[in-house]
Structure formats: C-alpha cells, structure tokens
Symmetry: D5
Subunit: 99 residues, 10 copies
C-alpha cells in the first residue's frame, strides 16, 4: 500500500439550488465515510477558513486513487492536487496503521 | 490539542562541509524523533523527489508550535508553511489519536 | 487564547439583486459586530481600494475559528486565508488585551 | 494618524558571523521596542514557522513610514510589503487606540 | 498631502447592455474629471493594450483614498491595487505640483 | 514624446564594500538628476518599505529609453519592468507638461 | 518607427452564438489584414495549441498602438500584453524591413 | 518526425446538458484514438485526480501539431500547453518507436 | 507497476570546477542508463532550450521512486516535480510496455 | 522549416571578472551573428530595460534548435523559454522569408 497527500478545494456554483446542494453534499459524505471505514481514505482534515480539505489516501496504485477521486460526487466542482508520499527516514511510528 | 499541517522544504547550501551536513542532519533526526515520541509531531511523510516533508503537529497553542519549529536544527535552511486544521464534518475516526 | 491573522476578499456576483445584497451585507455586519464585542474578532481593517479586510481573531482553538469563519453570512462569496500568529520576542505590549 | 499593514520576511545570509548576527538582532529589537513605546509600531506578531512578522504601524504620513522602515537595522536583509488600511464600516472599537 | 500609486483593471461583463455600459462609463468619466480638477487624482494614464490605468492620487489620508476609490462608478467591476509612495532622495522636482 | 511607466527594484549584494556602495549610489543619483533636469525622467517616487521606485519617462523612442535605462550605474543590480502608456480618454490635464 | 512585442490571448464565451462568433472573427481577420498591408502589424504568429498569437507592431507612438489594439473587434474578449522592443547590439539585419 | 510534450486541462461548463457532454466526450475519444493508431499521438496519460492529461505527440511540423490540437472536439474547453522535446544525450532507447 | 511523470531542472553552480562537473555528469549518465535498461526509467526527453528533462518512471511504489530519484548524482542540484499518472480511458496502446 | 519564439534572460554573476565578461559577450555576439546570416536566427530584439531578448528561430527540427541554443556561449547564464509557432490564418505575408 502507498500513501498520497491530496488537497481538495470545493467551488460550488452560487446558483446551485439549495436542495441540489444538500443532496450532493450528503452523497459526498456517505461516499467519503465508506472509504474511510475501509482504511483507503486514511485521514481527512478541514482547512480552517476554507471549503477545502487535506487528506491522506492509502491505496494500491495510481489507478485505484484516480478511480476513487474521480468518483467523488463533488468531483466536477473540485480542484484536486495529488502528491505522492514516501517513508521519511526519521519517522518512528513503525507500527502506525499507514504502513 | 489542535492539529496543524506543516510543509518543510530544506535547502542546504552546496558548500556545506560533509561532516557539518552529517552532524546537522543527525541532530535534526534526534530532535524530530523525540517530538514524535511525545505525540506532538503526529505524522511525518517524505515528498517523493524532494528534500521536503509534509507533517502534522498536535500542539496546545500557536506559541508552542512556533517554539518547536524555530528550534529545528535545520530551521535556518528551511522554508516552512503552516496551515491550521479543523475537524472535518465527514470525518469518522472519532477514536483516532489526533483529537 | 491564540491569535490568527485572517485576510478576507469578498467577491459578490454582479447579478445579485440589490435587496439581496443589502440584506446579506447587513447580516454580515451584525454577525461581525457581535463577535467584536465578545473580543473574539479583535481587529478589523479595510484594505484600501478593495472589498477586502485584514482581521485578527483571538480564539481558543482552530475548530472555534473555523466555526466562526464558516458561519459568516458572506462566507460563500469570500476567499479567506488564515495565518497562525505567535508572540514576537521583541513585542513590548505585555499588558495589551490580546494576550 | 493612519494605519498600515506591514509584512516583513527576514533572510539573513548563512555565512553571517554569529556575533555579527547577534549584534544586528539586538539593535533591531531595541529599535523596534523604542517605536512600539511611542505607539508608532502599534502591533507586532510573529508568523508561526517563519522568521517573519505581521505588523501594524500608526504614522502621520507615507514618508514617516518609509523613514521608519528603511531605518530598521535588518532592512538590507528583509522583504517588506506595505498595505494601507482604512476604517472598516463594521468596526466597533471606536475608542480603540488606533484611531 | 501624500501620494499613492494605483493600478485599476476594469473587467466589464460581456452581457452588460450597451446603454448600461455607456451610462456607467460616462459617470466614471465625470467622477474622474471632477477629482482631477481638485488635484486629488493627480495623474491618469492608460496602459497600452488594456482596459486599465496607472494613476497617482494626492490625498490627506488612507480613509480619504478608500472613500474616493470605493465611490468609483466602475468600482464593482475593477481590480484595484494601491501602493503608498514616499519622497525619493534623488527627486529634483521640489517645486513640482505634487508636493 | 511618449510616456513609459517603469518599476525599478534594486538588489545590491550584501558583500559590496561600503565605499563601493556609496560610490555607485552617488553616481546613480547624479545620473538620475541630470535626466530629471532634461525632462526625460519626468517623475520618480520611492515605494514605501522597499529599495524600489516607480518612475515615468518621457522619451522619443524605445531605443532612447533602453539607452537611458541600461546606462544606469545600478543597472546590473536592478530588476526593471517597463509599461508603455497612452493618453487616457478621461484625462483633463491637457496643459500638463507630459504631452 | 518603433517595434512592440504583443501577445494576445482570445477567450470567447462558450455561449456566443455561432453566427455572432463567425461574424466577429471575420471582422477581426479583415481588420488585421488591413493593418498588415500597411506594415504596422509587421508579424503575426499563432501559438501552437492555443487561441493566441505573438505579434510585432511597427508604429509611431504608444498612442497609435493603443488605438490599433483597442479597435480590434475581439478586444473585449482578449488579454493583451505589450512589451517595448529596442535594437539589439548583435542584430545584423540592418536592411530588414522592420526598421 | 519530432516529439512534443502537451498538457491538456479540460474545463467543461457545469451547465452543459448531459447528452451534449456525452456526445462531445465520445467524439473526443474517437478523434484521439484515430490519431493514436496513426502514431501521431504517441502517448496519453491521465493525471491522477484531474480531468487532465499529459500527452506526447510525434509530428512533422508545428503546423501539423496545431492543426491536430485545434481540431480536438474539446478544444474550446481546454487549456493546452505545448513544450518541444529534443533527444536527451543519456537516452538509450535508440530502437524505441518514438524516433 | 505504476507510471509517474517527472520533471527535472538542473541548476549547477557556476563555480563548479570543470572536472568536478564532468565527473558528476558522467556518473549521472551511467546511473540513468542503467535504470533505463531495467525499464524503470521508461522515457527521457530533453526540454528544448533548458538543462531540464521530462521523464516517465515505471516503478512498484512511491518508496521505490523516491529511492531512485534521491540517488541521482545530480539530486542536490535539481528541482524535481513528480505527478502520478493513471490509465487514460481513451488510451489504445493496450500492448504498450507501460502497463 | 519551422518557426519558434524564444525568450532569453541573461543573468551574469556580479563577480565575473570584466575581461571574462567581455570575452564571453564577444563570443556570444559572433555566434549569434553567424546564425543570423544563415537565416536560422530570423529575428532578434532587445527587451527595453532588461538584459533579455525575444528571438524568432527558423529551423528544421526541435533537435536542431536545442543544439543551437545549448551552444550559446551565455547558455549557462541564461533562462530560455521556447514556444512553437504555427501559421496564423489571418497572416498575409505569404511571400515573407519565414515560410
């Protein structure tokens, strides 16, 4: 398994109807929580002051990560930037669940 | 406790003597690992292809975080960027050690 | 308590109806002034020539700051950037209300 | 009197001798504290993770501000960016010392 | 009096009706020329190839400048950037009308 | 004659000897003042907080402007950016010396 | 005569009706070719992969250039950036038609 | 034949009707695959997390490349950036199909 | 196996002795060609006009890629940027060696 | 033959000895003029206020262009950016020597 750092910035159009907005946000939450329970979406943090998050994904391949990200209900409204991560030589958490 | 996302980019001068370089890198590693063992430096990942890392810090205040970062042996040779993190409404890991 | 530097840039759509615009700006003002009276929104300055402000917030946690900022009536129309602040070693205003 | 928002980023050369560095930093601190006591340097905050600060100056003119900033002992080693501030229509601190 | 360098970039929406456009541009011109006659809008130059200008304002305070700029009929359609100016030590035009 | 907006940012090396620095700055001042007296260097303002200026040049051709700028004693230590200016349709200062 | 380097990036709105689009592009072409035949629009190249061009203009003044550019039928849909050019000391094409 | 590195970022409008979107994407796929089969579109990779690709084209001239790119059904909705490539002195794949 | 797009920009110090430069460039070439022969460094192209390359790596994990890149003899003198790649839905080269 | 737009920005180190500087600039001039006489370096213009030029090259391939550019005596001191050019559909100079 491999780790990836992902930043997502959500830009919902102002003219989206409130019920459409609520529906897509609810689907996004369910989709995200299912992936968190499998361990593939390892961390999820809100960036203070923004409709954005930093996330850590733990997946088997680049293809699997793209399938997950492009399946996000909010994908058409997001800017996503992916950075591959490697083990840091000073990292002590050998028993940590990410690796 | 609060979480902060930190990116560190190291730019060591090319004319640093090899033994000075080895010494400062060893001190950096010891300093980092001591903070990881206390839980304050919660995560540490290498960015692939760069002398850089993404880290998550779990501290009590902005002042504590600045004291930690400015005490890094490599601090004079780093560009550091800090982003405050908040709990994400979709986050499921309630029992996770970060909060 | 901790201080945060916040920049807010407002981008209201040109086709917002004047009464809707007046209503949201009035709600923003009331929301801001209530937070200023509690001391949490410690400073608020207009940037000359822009529909933007620099602010200083004095809050207990990152989560509290995000709750305040995402509750702004103008939040959907703003770009917000947050920078955590620490005590400066040359600062003399020991008795200043921020700390 | 008028307020200005100032960001200062310090970039000391790595090959500056430790005593020269200590001397210039001490002169900078004395210079800054004298201006803070007169009220002209109204606020001074460290940016977490950086050798940088956000400051608020309260001066009578652009010329006075440039004279102050270009007299900083660290001026040759700083990037400085100045933004003029105006009274915000939602600001409640009428009795605040800045105006 | 103090000088400020101002850049204004106009971005009129393509779907603005021609008569609305002509009306707002005419009001902008009248507003600008009245300020030029008072001496507060000291210089005004078109940037070649752009719907933009560089201007020099000569005002008594930051607040006065913001009041002038935010009163521009085109203000909702402009990006404005303000830079405070000081006397240059090599400047010879002591009798120049700006100061 | 034509007007050009010029920004100059000076970056003197820290290891320049004080007497060499004083000599080059003195030559720069003499060069600048001579051009100001001919009217070719029409305006010169210091940018507050920086070793930079905004200038207006009034010359007969692009070639004349480049000859003037590349002859500046500080030219090897400057970043220079030139923007051609045209008459603004709202400009009232018909009798102004620039045109 | 003087040379200017100009980059034009065209951004036509997606909802422009096809016949309106064809009409404006045809007018742009006629306008451009008339100026090319006078020699004022000295060169015109398409940037590969973009609806953009690099051009060289050969005009008598900044004002003439702005009149030409702001008269382009596509002017409201373009980002234009102008750079003044001077004779290069290594240039051999003395007899070249540009000068 | 010559190689070019091309990045394409697709930005489809949110209000594009689903059937119009499906139709244009299908035409894009057919167009791309026909060019891949001729060998002119030598490589095509999806950028993880984005509606973007990196591609390598193998064409006879700049004109041929522009004709191919501007003929893409998605061309009006794309940002395209082209970089010309040369043979690398360390490249060993002499028999590789690109050259 | 997974593909990664890598850009490398080399910045050798001007004061590097010619023989040191020749030695490090020779080691870089040998290191690169050995990796190309294993198939891990799948493609390598020179960017025209720059001491830079675009490369495609075909590796088993992020850790393997970082080990390869940080072992480059020129690594201390390079800026490296890595982008993870996924299979494009329009890609026809099913038999291509990358997948 | 194909056309390429090239921007070159020269950054000579301040501590280059004057005779070394004069020698390299003389070699650059001879190299450039020889290429201009062959027609491969079709145009060369100085950017006003900068030690930079815009050039147009007329070559047979990307490889030929890289060989020319990397052979420039000033190549180690230059930032070079290359843009491929195509025939513009509005271009009238059919008999022009570039094509």
């Amino acid at each position: 398994m491999m780790l990836f750092h992902v930043r997502m910035d959500v830009r919902l159009p102002h003219d989206l109807a409130p019920e459409a907005r609520a529906e897509i946000v609810a689907r996004e939450k369910a989709y995200s929580q299912e992936l968190q329970r499998t361990g593939k979406w390892a961390h999820l943090w809100r960036i203070v002051g923004k409709h954005s998050n930093y996330s850590i994904f733990d997946v088997e391949s680049n293809d699997e990560l793209h399938t997950i990200l492009s399946g996000l209900p909010l994908f058409p409204y997001m800017d996503i930037h992916v950075t591959p991560l490697a083990t840091h030589p000073s990292y002590v958490a050998a028993a940590d669940h990410e690796r």
